[in-house]
Symmetry: C2
Amino acid sequence: MKKLLTGLFLLFSQINLMAQSSENYIQYVNPLIGTQKMGHTFPGATVPFGAVQLSPDTDQQPHNIGGKYNKNTYKYCAGYNYDDREIVGFSHTHFSGTGHSDLGDFLIMPTVGELQLEPGDKNSPKSGFRSAFSHKNETAEPNYYKVLLDDDGILAEMTTTERVGFHQYTFPESENSHIILDLMHGIYNYDDKNVWTFVRVESDRRIVGYRQTNGWARTRTVYFAMEFSKPFKNYGFKNYETQNYKGFWRKFDQTKNFPEAAGKQIRAYFDFKTAKDEKIQVKFALSPVSTTGALNNLKTETPDWDFEKIKKTGQDAWRKELGKIAVTAPTRDDLVNFYTALYHTFLSPTVYMDTDGKYKGLDQNVHQARGFTNYTTFSLWDTYRALHPFFNIVQPRRNREMINSMLAHYDQSVHKMLPVWSHYANENWCMIGYHSVSVISDAIVKGNTTGIDAEKALAAMTQTARTKYYDGLEYYMQMGYVPEDKNSSSVSKTLEYAYDDWAIAQAAKKLGKTAIYDEFIKRSENWKNVYDSSVGFTRPKRSDGKFAEKFDPLKTEGQGFIEGNSWNYSLYVPHNPEKMIEMMGGKQKFAAHLDELFTMHLPDEFFAETEDITREGIIGNYIHGNEPSHHVAYLYNWTDAPWKTQEKVRMILKHQYTAAPDGLGGNDDCGQMSAWFLFSTLGFYPVAPGSDQYQIGSPAIKTAVLKLENGKTLTIEARNQSDKNVYVEKVTINGREINRRFLTHADIMNGGRLTFQMSDKPKM
Amino acid sequence: MKKLLTGLFLLFSQINLMAQSSENYIQYVNPLIGTQKMGHTFPGATVPFGAVQLSPDTDQQPHNIGGKYNKNTYKYCAGYNYDDREIVGFSHTHFSGTGHSDLGDFLIMPTVGELQLEPGDKNSPKSGFRSAFSHKNETAEPNYYKVLLDDDGILAEMTTTERVGFHQYTFPESENSHIILDLMHGIYNYDDKNVWTFVRVESDRRIVGYRQTNGWARTRTVYFAMEFSKPFKNYGFKNYETQNYKGFWRKFDQTKNFPEAAGKQIRAYFDFKTAKDEKIQVKFALSPVSTTGALNNLKTETPDWDFEKIKKTGQDAWRKELGKIAVTAPTRDDLVNFYTALYHTFLSPTVYMDTDGKYKGLDQNVHQARGFTNYTTFSLWDTYRALHPFFNIVQPRRNREMINSMLAHYDQSVHKMLPVWSHYANENWCMIGYHSVSVISDAIVKGNTTGIDAEKALAAMTQTARTKYYDGLEYYMQMGYVPEDKNSSSVSKTLEYAYDDWAIAQAAKKLGKTAIYDEFIKRSENWKNVYDSSVGFTRPKRSDGKFAEKFDPLKTEGQGFIEGNSWNYSLYVPHNPEKMIEMMGGKQKFAAHLDELFTMHLPDEFFAETEDITREGIIGNYIHGNEPSHHVAYLYNWTDAPWKTQEKVRMILKHQYTAAPDGLGGNDDCGQMSAWFLFSTLGFYPVAPGSDQYQIGSPAIKTAVLKLENGKTLTIEARNQSDKNVYVEKVTINGREINRRFLTHADIMNGGRLTFQMSDKPKM
């Protein structure tokens, strides 16, 4: 009886929580933010962490033209560019905020009139199935996207479940309406990216198949099942490389009403007769496993044809997720920025398994996820910094599942390595370091490990960090640094390995593994080996032990660095700022050095080398649009001028995040830029994941109520906060003032009331 | 207790049967028969119906050179050509006797000295890893193949289990020994046949991966797991199309000791130090499902490293299978021909599922075979004639499983059609007709249906026969024939559809489905519509109802026929010879017509049009090397001169099958040519599968004891038989003379004694 009562109590508590969460925060989310310039976000429909992210693509640029890199391809990392005036169609998979790309699977486009199976040319809407549109006829909300396709007067609407895209097209009256399924379309189309395509028309409403690509993911297959709300009249394929049956294909007319096709370059069309304002709906399910899996996902998640219901279910999921942080702030734009950032942090990693728990692993075998949801798209060089630490607070269960997904990757890895940058059962090796270890260490140190085999996780971390053939690691282990003459970006690698090693040591310490702690805490000091005290910067070192002669701390390329020059990267010792500051001449000199970073002018010739950011994405020579500096504004906390942290953080929040399509100064990088915004807006930041400390900055909200998964609530209050009152006078936790410049993880997770007393005067 | 005793009794019976079967019939099998000229058999190692058929390939010819068909490719349908003087390596999959080809997966080649990763040029052994060999150093037995590779003095031996190839290479002393794994090699290499390859080196002894091809099978993937008996020192890949990681591949040296590769054109090598006469063994398992499946097959079937044990187990399996017919015959060559033919009939269809019953289906999904073993490679246009009827006698269980495999194909077919010519989860549509229906009907009519859902099978047969868009079938259904101006090979198709329809009708009759019987018995008369009584031949008819004017009964190409001219094809009414003979002028005229067929001279210009056969493969204008005439010699049984059947059959046996590498006058076609030999040698032949009758010919054995699966034994005795005594004077069954020209299926399956009294004089 007691058990029952407890159960009922829990049930009521949950209902109560749901009720609280049902405030309509989705009104503040504008998915168009970041779709212009460098944000590389997408405006389409998805549920939180959804496997299907269904979004309009405004163009498709080949990765190479005439053997040379096509710079335009970069604009289309997320398929959609706000400046474009045409939509080529709606595809089902997109990265959010990446600087390299892939995906764009299975483009659907409705048309009327003479069938056109070519997308046509940019700025020439009638040249193909693409259509003009205008932003005034466009609506983007969480899990809902609507646009009027001007050319044929078709209203396109879309919503999703986790694994199913749900399209609704309102047609004009026509004997000659079409829905095109373009299986060639993709994002970042390398030559020969489409390896194989297989399609079956299983009835007059159902199509299944798969597409295998060799893009950023080298060996990637996505399976689908598609269903129309009404039967098509006729259908057909155009097989652009004519991969017909060898020898005996003359038995059939394979172009029309022939139910199968296979090859590399295929487009399909389906013909309908439509009445005025007739809606044709399409369900489009994905699977990482098989067409059977996709069909099963379709049946499980979208058993009926109710567009509004699907939309509402997904938006309710968003209301619940967004409601985990209930914010009040001075202006509506503040709320838009906040909830859009929160939205962007909840887009990836994405669910990567069927409803029955099956998924394809890194070994290309089908695995069963037991006890966790499997996720993919780990942009770890970015997201270890703030996104995963943010998840440890607001998505702890999902973060644990992501870690279990990373451990599954490790189990399946022929290298016996944790993911570096992985997506869709592939390691793409993007960027540097082995930052999985940071994500896992952060969870271990913060005690977020229920359901994770922590000892196994530690073994995976150490094994990864000892992979000799990985990216200069053998030299690093032997010599204490990566020599520039042996491996490029050698300083960046040395610095990041040293931090990662520290993170491993912290996990080992927590788990009582002294030998591992000793090994890796020693390795974590390797950053010192690339610091040249004669110039006050880290600097590439050769294998003969001498620093490279060619050196300019403003330069990046070929100078031992990547996505950050020595001015920025030299500050990358997040795990030991005290020692770094000491080596750089002490607190005062260091503070002045930081001041110079934020105020100096980076000449255009050097800016041209920075990647992934707009000119607005930098402040002085501080480059917020790339990640290596994300902790830098918080380093003043180790000097005598923590108020400069407060000031700089607010300046960055104001300049780098605005409520407009071009509002992001750099790639959102799968939510890392947004996670920086969220932490900093709430008033604290995890400078060194793997520590349980968050450096105090300057909160930019009025109040924020965090509804934690452990059932507790943390209310953050920034009293007297305004654009001018950016300085923290006093911090209290449940009324007791704290005399430190950081919060601990426990301070947050225990709930209660965290109060910042703000002022317009720095506290000296 | 009674049950136990019965059990023991059964056990003893089985032991007894095994003892009987253990006579070493494998001594009479010469796998080299058919490897020269047109037989297209392979000499390598396999167990009966094995998934792995591990055999030397002597060359690899591209299907096209400069856009034109390369005639040489045809010689290599089975990978090995007896005339060649070099072996390029040993691959794991081969068709036996086909006239079109595919497969040749995963070529292994041992070498010594400087590593050569190119196969080199024909007749230039030192130009690559290929090696000279000579037939005097070559041994081919069931499940054992041995050859000395002259170039490096390596002795190569191989044996297999159902799913694992077991290699044993005896090396000379060398610091520099290699085993090459060529993942590019294949048979019938179309441009771009290799769609994708994926390889992982999982330890210093184990490699796994897969190869996906677009050949005769359009979408085909074969997975493997490979294990060495000792660790390799070093290894590496050459990726001929450099499908590296996009962007970040510079992190590694991927050519040496880097454990993964993917792309289209890959070769791998493994280095060893070898002592004099050191044996290195390789286990190589295949799977249609996954590398996990392959590894599981490897562990299940070859848990240890005992070459001799594996060889013996497989040879014991052959002894058992070959022992199902214990023959005595006048000469050793007779026995060699008989047991080699029996061997060839037991090579395919091949097992196509993992040890756990999983297999890839036609829909490219993974399925679980429940209650049957799944088979692939259905060369049905050939094998429906005699091979499957032969299986109904000597492999009834396997034939039922093959039918269940065909029904699984039907379930998975988007066309809802039974297989036409299928292999490796693909329909290749080769040749004409829908002869699955004949195979199934034959089993139904003969009562061999335990475990088959006969009603479902009938539904599959009718559904297949009503597929309008298939190969002229809509015209056939509407007009009663395929019009030549609408579809090529129209007469051949009309004739074969008519026979197939009759087979459906027979099954319907047996199952009491009158409406279906009526529908299809009517369709079975359609052959009459293409018979032109004015010329006495079948002749292409146009859609206007008139016979085509251009017509020469000696021609094949463009004349309404395929693999047989009108002289041969006009006789293709196996289900109603009486009516055919009546229409052709009655018994006497018809017998004279047959005489002319066997004695006339086919001018070279017409011979050039026949496919797949040697000049020796024809007798007069009777073309035994192709299948449409396989029943023709038996048609004299419907005239007043059945002795001519006896005479002709013996002539064909003598001329078309000899105990030498060039001993087969045409493609063995997955055992059909051999099955014709076996039936005819035993004295009877199934002219119309779907009937329970076998036409009596002329037995060429002394005695043959058939140990039937139903526990009964049929002893066939040909008294007084010799090369001269080819005429049947009297036939008795269990001592009772029969006064008919045919045996029934029951006559055989009831066992007992079937005696032919032979004579040198025709019985008029």
